[in-house]
Symmetry: C2
Subunit: 336 residues, 2 copies
């Protein structure tokens, strides 16, 4: 059973994933397998993953057979495990919990050669619907406090398979970064009575210099204190603290925005590795006036050094205004 | 002039280092230069660095000539700049300051072929003395609130030159990670009247399972909630919140401990890239009863993925008890 442990000084939780443990020599991350081994996410190889949890496809298709267009399966090497009760324990300074949670993989397409941004608008919308549907389902489990939806693309960004996929982790606590955002935005709301994210978005749209694109439903900006070159935030224009309660029209708009933003990124930086992560409110919070869900997108093009790790203090060589300029002016369609 | 910017939501400061800015195509980190280009840190090439700030060597040696054994120079591509006043400014939500600070490089040896842990005890002690001497000097500058001493070894850990060196950055604010530690340890002290780091060390030494080594002056442990495989903390046995006020005997003991720990790491993981960072108290705080200086050492052997970045929530595949076991049992001398 994996274990959740809390740092006694700063309160950050860590997953000690004993199931994934390997001897020192085997520790280095392997590169993406590019095809020599049969891809477990390709149609016809459904038996190479744990049985599917959800799939979109034609009526009458049998589970775990080809024909699907989006497919969700449990992670074969889960960081957390779904079975069991929530044992909280520990001694003295050392708090721990059983590593209870869900860890799922969303296979975004049946086509091994396509990346998320290559899919058409309806297919990307289906990926978003699958995130929503899984959140809605897992939300009913009272053991969970938070669900993280994220995507790692490319080995340098932590992906171990090349076939387009995203992931979801349900956890019995709220992660520290989200807690910091909740605290910071709550303090602002207490003082001003307004959502700080709405305020940031309003100021950025007015200023224009850090705007990548804006449409009726979403704004994409390079944040003022960007940690990484070409970091972007995708924010819904209408205030909401939860991703999963968006309307179908909003998901369709997000699909278009995501396709456009990833195309811009690929065209400016030549298909870089990247991570994105959905920051949404805690599961048990309902709608919060002070928190605003958003997606943080981080290209992985510079090595992060000890200074950053150890101090939480980042050095970014590309001013976000300059990044926004490049991203705004580049073609937002497929690479020629 | 570089700029310091504060994230409006969570309060984290970022250095936007315009001086280092490059066009998108040139952004990817370069590999360590291994000798095709003359090494700016080798004796005879003193003119390839900015003029030295400090050097240990024979009496009567002229500055910026060979003969030194440890040499401190300003970083040629500083993240922050030493000249100027501290202009705090900004508008609305966006706080910024001039990127004022110091960024120095400590060349740890004149021998291009040696790593820090290959140096003899006196030479490593000199490196520690040079950190102390630079902190003591920079501390007199009222513009600075904090000094970070750190080392990146290997390209994957962010090093851009192979010649053994560490770095130091003086900043006009306390970094967020250190602030979190100060806050967490202060809360504990308020409740219990004891230093949480002293308590952790006492509990770990009693338990033994996460101890790598202990001597009269230092304890080395793999922390309970380690974020990374083989992460280690080096902690002084005697309570003190500031690295730089250690006694000469303590620096000599730290030199031996550091050599031993790095040898263990090299022997278990085959000379991995790593980062370490000195966590010491804020410059203007004097001795704090609740904070305890220590060194955090993080081998860079796994890719950190979006989940970790975006959530501050780490997955560690190696339980610290297992890491401690390997590290404790391995030879702590040079690799055979």
């Amino acid at each position: 059973m994996p274990e959740l442990r809390r740092d006694p000084v700063i309160g950050r939780w860590v997953i000690i994933s004993t199931e994934r443990s390997r001897r020192p020599g085997g520790l280095r991350t392997q590169n993406e397998s590019q095809g020599s081994v049969p891809c477990p996410f390709c149609p016809g190889n459904e038996s190479k993953t744990p049985p599917e949890i959800l799939a979109y496809g034609p009526r009458g298709r049998s589970p775990n057979t080809p024909g699907w267009s989006t497919r969700v399966v449990p992670n074969k090497f889960p960081a957390l495990q779904i079975e069991g009760d929530l044992h909280r324990g520990g001694e003295d300074l050392f708090d721990r919990m059983d590593g209870l949670g869900a860890h799922e993989v969303i296979v975004e397409t049946d086509d091994h050669t396509k990346q998320l941004e290559d899919l058409n608008e309806n297919q990307v919308t289906d990926v978003l619907f699958s995130w929503r549907d899984r959140i809605m389902d897992l939300k009913r489990d009272p053991r969970f406090e938070y669900i993280l939806v994220f995507k790692n693309r490319g080995t340098a960004a932590g992906a171990s398979l090349a076939h387009a996929h995203s992931q979801l982790i349900a956890t019995p606590m709220v992660p520290i970064r989200v807690k910091q955002e909740l605290r910071g935005s709550d303090e602002y709301y207490e003082k001003k009575g307004r959502c700080i994210f709405c305020e940031i978005m309003r100021a950025e749209i007015e200023k224009k210099e850090r705007v990548v694109e804006v449409n009726d439903d979403f704004a994409v900006i390079t944040p003022f204190a960007s940690r990484f070159p070409f970091e972007m935030w995708i924010m819904p224009r209408r205030h909401s603290s939860s991703f999963e309660t968006s309307t179908d029209a909003q998901f369709r708009a997000l699909s278009r925005t995501l396709k456009s933003v990833l195309a811009r990124l690929n065209n400016v930086l030549d298909n870089p590795p990247y991570n994105f992560i959905v920051h949404t409110g805690p599961l048990k919070a309902n709608q919060l006036a002070h928190f605003h869900w958003h997606i943080e997108l981080m290209p992985k093009i510079v090595h992060t050094a000890g200074f950053e790790w150890g101090a939480g203090f980042y050095i970014n060589p590309t001013p976000p205004e300059q990044a926004a300029l490049y991203l705004r002016e580049v073609n937002n369609g497929p690479t020629a």
